[in-house]
């Protein structure tokens, strides 16, 4: 009966009748959870790096090598890197969705965003796992 009602008119021809995707729901949820996690991770990081035991003045190669000798700090930095990149990237994705007016602009801005995200995540992860404290010269 309701099928014959002309009232039911999709907003745009691009919209399929029933597209079941929870992507936007999960990305929204991810922003909340990663946001809370980042508060702890980033504030903890800033406290250790800038305030504790003389702050920035003690940071050198040896200090970094000492911290990354422990899997705990490796994991801390890794989590911070991934969460910050994906959280920030997802935020920028919504900004691009909101403000880009042309489909082409939106597409290329997102390509740029995703490429930069992948590059930085890959480079950072590579450094954390392959860091060699015994480097010479």
């Amino acid at each position: 009966m309701s099928e014959s009602l002309t009232l039911d008119k999709p907003r745009s021809p691009r919209r399929p009748a029933a597209r079941r995707s929870n992507f936007e729901l999960y990305s929204w949820l991810f922003m909340r959870i990663s946001g809370v996690a980042l508060v702890v991770l980033v504030l903890g990081h800033l406290f250790i790096m800038n305030i504790l035991d003389g702050g920035v003045h003690r940071i050198n190669f040896g200090f970094v090598a000492g911290r990354w000798a422990s899997p705990f700090w490796q994991f801390w930095d890794l989590a911070m890197l991934w969460l910050a990149q994906i959280h920030g990237g997802n935020g920028l994705r919504t900004v691009i969705n909101d403000y880009a007016r042309k489909d082409a602009t939106r597409f290329w801005l997102k390509v740029l965003l995703y490429v930069s995200m992948v590059l930085i995540i890959a480079l950072g992860t590579y450094v954390i796992f392959t860091f060699d404290p015994n480097i010479t010269d």
Binding site: L5, K9, R15, A18, N22, L25, L29, D98
Partner: protein, 260 residues
């Protein structure tokens, strides 16, 4: 349509006598006539008005006694029909519900009131916008009762508590003040907008309705509730005092916990 030269007189002839206690205020109106203008322009009118006048009275004064070409919508003029939503001093209001005394400059300084069409919808002329995209979004959320199975022989009974759940969102008059106050709607019109979500909420949380899942599916889309940035512009703009942002959050929660 025959294009006529711009008429400088109002549609009701000479200006009436100025009443006692009237103040002269400047009404700055953003105007656009597609027959003459390439770009919107600003027109200013000096109007004698009483503090108890509504902004709609000022617009009537312009149309009736100064410039009959001023174009705007209004019907009931008492905040029920939702025709005269416009941007008054930068915020969306119904012109028939804003009193001049609330807009007067402090300390007896001269008052200027700016009037613009609501943002985000195509302007036809002056304050008259094309409401069709707004109603398309409204229709897309299926704002009518959906039931399956046999019709009951008696009325569909609902408890007071069940009615209470969607009471707030039944008040919507579809004036578009909320949707056109939303920054996400301004830049990209594909977002459903607050008004459509409010009207979906009205049926999603109705215990007699069985279409909640369909509507939630529609609002789970890229252009659905997840585009809401909770800026509260909609709640501030609603002339009926609907807690619009709260309604949107309740829809998000229903989606998140898969429970209405």
């Amino acid at each position: 349509m025959t294009a006529t030269a711009e008429v400088s007189t109002g549609s009701r002839g000479n200006q009436p006598p100025v009443p006692d206690g009237a103040i002269t205020v400047t009404l700055k109106v953003r105007r656009f006539n597609p027959e003459f203008d390439d770009e919107p322009r600003w027109d200013s009118f000096e109007i004698p008005a009483l503090p108890s006048d509504r902004v709609l009275n000022l617009l009537h004064y312009v149309k009736w006694y100064i410039d009959g070409t001023l174009t705007f919508r209004r019907s009931c003029a008492h905040g029920i029909c939702g025709s005269d939503a416009m941007r008054i001093n930068g915020v969306n209001r119904l012109a028939c519900k804003v009193l001049l005394k609330d807009l007067l400059a402090s300390g007896g300084k001269p008052t200027t009131i700016t009037i613009e069409p609501i943002k985000g919808l195509p302007v036809h002329k002056d304050l008259l916008v094309d409401m069709e995209p707004f109603f398309e979004a409204f229709k897309a959320v299926k704002p009518y009762l959906i039931t399956y199975g046999n019709e009951p022989t008696r009325e569909r009974i609902q408890s007071i508590a069940d009615r209470e759940r969607f009471d707030d969102t039944t008040k919507c008059i579809l004036c578009a003040a909320c949707t056109t106050s939303c920054p996400v709607y301004w830049t990209e019109g594909s977002y459903f907008g607050p008004a459509a979500i409010v009207n979906a909420h009205r049926f999603i949380f109705d215990s007699r309705d069985e279409g909640a899942e369909e509507r939630l599916d529609i609002l789970n889309d890229v252009d659905g509730v997840w585009r809401c940035r909770t800026t509260f512009n909609c709640t501030d703009a609603c002339p009926r005092g609907i807690q619009v942002t709260k309604a949107i959050q309740e829809v998000k929660r229903a989606l998140l916990f898969k429970r209405v």
